[in-house]
Symmetry: C2
Subunit: 295 residues, 2 copies
């Protein structure tokens, strides 16, 4: 059995299972993300009880970031002050000292899950992007999430402002980086006079698709993925993915003469194959790899 923790900024989703399908379909233990002490105590109590009934070989943690791989902890740059420097490795070791631990960002893990069992299955170079409250992503090459200096932070790239957009942006560090202009929070703040949810014809989605298409082009020009999987709450808006596809194709303008970027763009910019389970299934994948039981 492998334990999986999708450690998000607003809630943490825990599950155990001996296969990705079992984890996907398992009843989840969900804890709101409050203080590290409180949140981790609840999570570890639950896993200790699980371990007592069926021993766990490993726990995989897919954590909000940025994270510091040298200590498997939340990096000090996180805007969540209480979580700065908090180590998942230490927390797990304090309660279960004999199991393997897998650790990565939530978005790298989701990308890995999509590569293993989802929409990006077996692509040499795959990208996962999530557009929700924030914007993040993972770059998976030959089945391995890329860890260079740190890990990808797609949300903090810079893209040109569109249509005389004067919104200052919501990113505490960068202001008008991609996330600052186009994350869920930015959409709510820019159009704060409008009633939620916005209908599909609201101007918010034209602007949103402009920014996301620019982000797609930058990812394509820098990493040359064979597929981009787009998840997250914002992407669920009706018609948005279609707009992003068209605008990405038009921006590239045939410069990269590949069917995937012209006639077949619908099979290139795709929804997650694991729906909303990419994160927790990714945490399972991290645990299974740490326990050396990946198929």
């Amino acid at each position: 059995m492998i334990g999986a923790i999708e450690a998000g900024g607003t809630k943490m989703i825990c599950a155990v299972g001996s296969s990705w399908r079992e984890v996907r379909d398992a009843e989840k233990f969900v804890v709101p993300t409050t203080t590290p002490d409180e949140t981790m105590a609840k999570i570890m109590d639950w896993f200790v009880a699980q371990h007592r009934s069926t021993p766990l070989a490993a726990i995989g943690v897919a954590s909000f970031g940025p994270i510091d791989f040298s200590t498997d902890s939340i990096a000090r740059a996180t805007p969540k002050e209480a979580w700065r420097g908090v180590s998942w490795r230490d927390a797990i070791r304090a309660h279960l000292d004999d199991i393997a631990i897998g650790f990565d960002t939530d978005t790298n893990a989701a990308g890995l899950a999509e590569w293993c069992w989802g929409a990006a299955a077996n692509c040499r170079v795959a990208v996962y992007v999530t557009v929700g409250t924030g914007i993040g992503g993972g770059l998976i090459i030959e089945g391995e999430p890329v860890h260079g200096l740190l890990h990808p932070e797609f949300g903090h790239m810079f893209v040109p402002r569109q249509r005389d957009d004067r919104f200052e942006g919501t990113c505490p560090t960068h202001g008008d980086c991609l996330e600052g202009l186009a994350c869920g929070l930015a959409i709510r703040e820019r159009w704060s006079g409008s009633d939620h949810p916005f209908p599909p014809e609201h101007a918010a989605w034209e602007l949103e698709s402009d920014y996301l298409a620019l982000a797609m082009v930058n990812i394509i020009m820098i990493a040359s993925p064979q597929i981009i999987v787009l998840g997250g709450g914002v992407m669920a808006v009706e018609g948005l993915l279609g707009k992003v596809r068209m605008k990405t194709r038009d921006l590239i303008g045939g410069y990269i003469a590949k069917d995937e970027l012209t006639s077949d763009i619908d099979s290139y910019l795709v929804r997650p194959g694991l729906n909303t389970s990419s994160g927790v299934v990714g945490a399972f994948a991290l645990g299974a790899r740490a326990a050396d039981v990946m198929p």
Copy 2:
């Protein structure tokens, strides 16, 4: 012996050698890039003569792009019309049918050379960027140039316009992509009233460093390299690299809390270790890998 061709858009540089140092220091055979027939005939005559005196095990070709790996040819999207669809593999096979052939973009090859024997030695994730007449680059992960859907085309990412810059951009496809705003051609066209070469205090270099720093941030946020090697003629301008370093550090603003992006930025954004030989040495590396004689 390994043959090496750095096939650039204005000239092609050929050399042979049994080690990268031999190729770096060898007398080069240089041919202007005119029509494919004329250029390739001269090159192949030279290599056939070399092969007669000391048999070649392989030839590596580091070609201007975009290129099509399915046929080892220049892609149809190249602005060089006469070279559309021209196959290096066919040209070499027609004269030397028993040797191995290595093939990649000039910028992937230069990045590979920097990873093997230059400034990016043994970095898990390394990026090479060249800023000259055009802007291009290579992404090297675990010692392999990344080939996803195609290959990186850093020059064609989009970045925000700076300081009310109204220049329309020189990219035939995209207009004001990074290359359109910041390549050597764009610098010359934007400031066409000024005398070349511009002194280091010319406003051109403030603007140029703004755009290049934005490109560095986008590369860092998408690929998370452990080092970025900056080559090409424009980067030789006095003071430019220093400006790009400072502005990249300031734009990231501490969001990625790594010394490499703060106090140690000088060791993160660096000049090529192979100076101007990265391309031809990279072609040697491609040939040596094709012949299976890489150390």
